[in-house]
């Protein structure tokens, strides 16, 4: 198939990437429900120090760094409030 198609990256790399994503989630065993609870609890703690945090804006994801280390990536945007 695709005799002259040099740009065909092949389905193997697709398989590899899908597998990496699936395994990332399989291995940490974090359900979406647990992530939601984690967000709320994390927010409760951080609010003691930075009151302007909005739990709805927190983003937690299981990701992989460039050198294949699995990590829990958290993005917590600071709200508008200044100095509480």
């Amino acid at each position: 198939m695709s005799f002259f198609n040099r740009n065909n990256k092949g389905s193997a790399s697709v398989a590899r990437n899908r597998l990496l994503t699936v395994l990332l989630h399989d291995r940490v065993k974090l359900t979406p429900d647990m992530i939601e609870r984690l967000k709320i609890e994390l927010c409760d703690v951080i609010r003691r120090y930075v009151p302007s945090i909005d739990p709805d804006t927190i983003d937690i994801a299981v990701t992989q760094t460039d050198n294949n280390t699995d990590q829990l990536e958290t993005r917590i945007p600071l709200g508008r409030g200044r100095n509480g």
Binding site: F3, F4, R6, N8, K9, G10, S11, A12, S13, A15, R16, R18, L19, L20, V22, L23, D26, R27, N68
Partner: protein, 265 residues
């Protein structure tokens, strides 16, 4: 000292039973006294793969329940004098056996044999747990597909949880041509993802189907490359240092022309 090795995979249909039959035959051919145990209770298969289905009188559950002595249930192989099969029960449920009973049975087999190879059922439930309960070592069979590798990863995690040490991997049904054209995950891809040691690579081979149709195993066919790859794995299990070579496969003429046109490799 006997060694007990369980061959498992998580996913079904990736080649556990074929691998068990070939490795058992090859290990016996290397001068070991070997028993292959079918732990897939209710879905007996190892007997037909080895062509021994007509000789079964008693099975594993009969031994555990004391309906017969262990020796009575062991079936002698057609070809290898020092190879025996302990068949699974076909009409029973997988819950007919407990982990403790399996460990006890395996310990009995240790006294008689150099190698005890246990063919595990697919899945991660009681049948799988029974199959690994008495094992010293685990060999995982997978194919280079997303679902099979995912299940293998789960099994590796369970082996760690049950303190079975790190399993070794047989990568089965590799198609070198598809790997070269980027349409199948490579040996390196799978090893990097699973992060365990490789014990051998088996290519996709139609001869496995024809051999299985006849109830024969490929390691006995001296002209079979796949048989040789299995024998090499058996030698590694046997403690020999045998290098794992990439699967030989000459690129076809069309493939070579196509590679040239691509500014090829």
């Amino acid at each position: 000292m006997a060694k007990v090795i369980t061959i498992t995979s998580g996913k079904g249909g990736v080649g556990k039973t074929t691998s068990t039959a070939n490795l058992g035959t090859a290990l016996a051919g290397l001068g070991n006294k070997v028993v292959v145990v079918d732990a897939d209770i209710g879905l007996r298969n190892l007997d037909v793969v080895m062509g021994l289905e007509n000789r079964i009188v008693y099975d594993l559950v009969d031994v555990i329940e004391g309906n017969c002595r262990l020796r009575q249930a062991l079936i002698k192989d057609k070809h290898e004098a020092e190879l025996y099969l302990l068949p699974a029960a076909q009409t029973r449920d997988k819950d007919a056996v407990t982990q403790e009973e399996m460990v006890e049975l395996v310990d009995q087999l240790r006294e008689e044999f150099d190698f005890v190879l246990i063919d595990s059922p697919a899945g991660i439930e009681s049948g799988f747990k029974n199959a690994i309960a008495g094992a010293d070592e685990i060999i995982i069979v997978t194919t280079p597909e997303v679902s099979a590798v995912r299940d293998a990863d789960r099994i590796i995690g369970l082996c760690e949880a049950y303190e079975k040490g790190q399993p070794r991997l047989i990568l089965n049904r590799l198609r070198p041509k598809m790997v070269r054209s980027g349409e199948m995950m490579s040996v390196e891809d799978v090893l990097q993802i699973l992060a365990i040691d490789l014990i051998g690579i088996i290519p996709e081979d139609e001869d496995v189907i024809t051999a299985t149709n006849k109830g024969e195993v490929l390691v006995l066919d001296k002209s079979s490359k796949t048989g040789k790859y299995y024998t090499d794995i058996a030698r590694r299990i046997n403690g020999e240092e045998v290098a794992i070579d990439p699967i030989e496969d000459t690129p076809s003429l069309i493939e070579r022309i196509s590679n040239m046109l691509r500014g090829g490799r």
